[in-house]
Subunit: 201 residues, 2 copies
Amino acid sequence: MARRSEHTQDEIRSMVLNAAETILIEDGLAKLKVRNIAMEIGYTVGSIYMVFDNMADLILHLKARTLDDMALHLQQVPSNNTAQCCLLDLSKAYLNFANQHFNRWNMLFDHTKTPESVTPDWYKHKITQLFRPIEYQFERLTPNASAEQTQRAAQALWSGVHGICCLSLSGSLDVVGVRDVEATVVVLVNSFVRGWASDLP
Amino acid sequence: MARRSEHTQDEIRSMVLNAAETILIEDGLAKLKVRNIAMEIGYTVGSIYMVFDNMADLILHLKARTLDDMALHLQQVPSNNTAQCCLLDLSKAYLNFANQHFNRWNMLFDHTKTPESVTPDWYKHKITQLFRPIEYQFERLTPNASAEQTQRAAQALWSGVHGICCLSLSGSLDVVGVRDVEATVVVLVNSFVRGWASDLP
DNA sequence: ACCTGAACACCGTTCAAGT
DNA sequence: ACCTGAACACCGTTCAAGT
C-alpha cells in the first residue's frame, strides 16, 4: 500500500476541497464526513489529514470560499445608483445569495464544528471586506458623517439584513416565501436609510 | 437491576431537564451528552429515552424553557414610555438576555442537532408571542398602520436586533464589548423608528 | 515520503434481560 | 412496569506499518 504519487499534495488538497463543497451543497454541513470525502476522491481518511489539520480547518476553508463567492456576488451590484437604491440592491443580493446557496451560507454561521478556536486574521479580514460596499454607500449617503458613524451604520443595517435572512430562512419566522422575506428586508432598509439620513447633516 | 421506583416518570423528566440545562449553561450545547445527563441524575442512558424521544426532543424542550424565560425578561420592560423609548429598552433587554444567558440563547439558533424535523406548533406559537411586545409598540407608534404593516415592521426591527446580537456575540464582527454592541443596536432602532414613523401617517 | 487501514475514543440509540 | 447496561452503528483522529 501507499506511495501512489498520482497527485501532488496541492492537487489532493483541492480535490478534498471540491468534493467537500459538493457534499456540502447537496446534503448540507451535517452530512459532511471525512469518510464521505475520502470515498469521493478515491483516497482514505488518513490522506485528508495530510492536507488539512482537521475537520474544523477544512470547514474554515470552505467558509472562506463561500465568503469570496459572496463578495463577488455583491460586487456585481451596480454602485452608481442612488445610495438608498444601492443599499436595497445589496440587501436583496445578500438575500438572494443566502437563498441560492443555502447550505453554504448556513455553514458560515454554524459555530458548533469549531469550538472556541480562534478565527485567523485572514478570515476576519474577508468579513471586513464584505462590509466595504455597504460602508461605501453610507459614505455617499451621508458624506459629513464620521468614519466611525459610517461604519456603525453599515454594521447596524447589514447585521439587520442578515438577521432577517437568519430568522426567515431558518423557519423561525412565520414567513411564507422568499418574496415575503424580501419585502421585510425592503422595509428595514428603506426605514433605516430614511431615518439615518434625516438625523445626519 | 431495574425497577427502582424512587422517582415518578414526571420527576425523572424534570430531573433530566434540569441537569441538561445546568450542563448547557456551564459548558454549552456542544458538551451536552446523554451520558453526561444520565451520570448527573444517577440514572443510566436508557432512562432518558423513557421520558424523551431523543436528544432533539430534549433540546426542543430546553429551547422552549429559554423562550419562556426570554418572554418573561421582555415583559419586565416598562411599556408606558414613548414607543421609541420602549423599543429601545426592549432591544437592550434582548441584547442583555443574549449576553447573560449566552449558551442558552445560542442554542435557540443551532439547527444542527435537529435536522429538518418539523417544529411543532406550540413551539412556533412561543416565538410568535415573543414578537408581541414589539408589535404592540409599533401599534402605539403608528396607530393608522395596517396590522400587516405593523407586523412587518416588528419583524424587520426585531430580526435586525437579533442579527446584530448574532454577528457581534459570535465574534464575526469586530466589535469590542457589549457596550459597543448596544451602541449599534441603538443606532438601528433609532434610525429605523424615525424612518418608519416619517413614512406612515 | 506518501498513503493505508486498523485501532481508538467517543457519540446517540436500541433492546433483551433482569427485578 | 421500570430500569439496566451491553451492544450497535457511526463519528473524528491517530499512527504503526507498508511501499
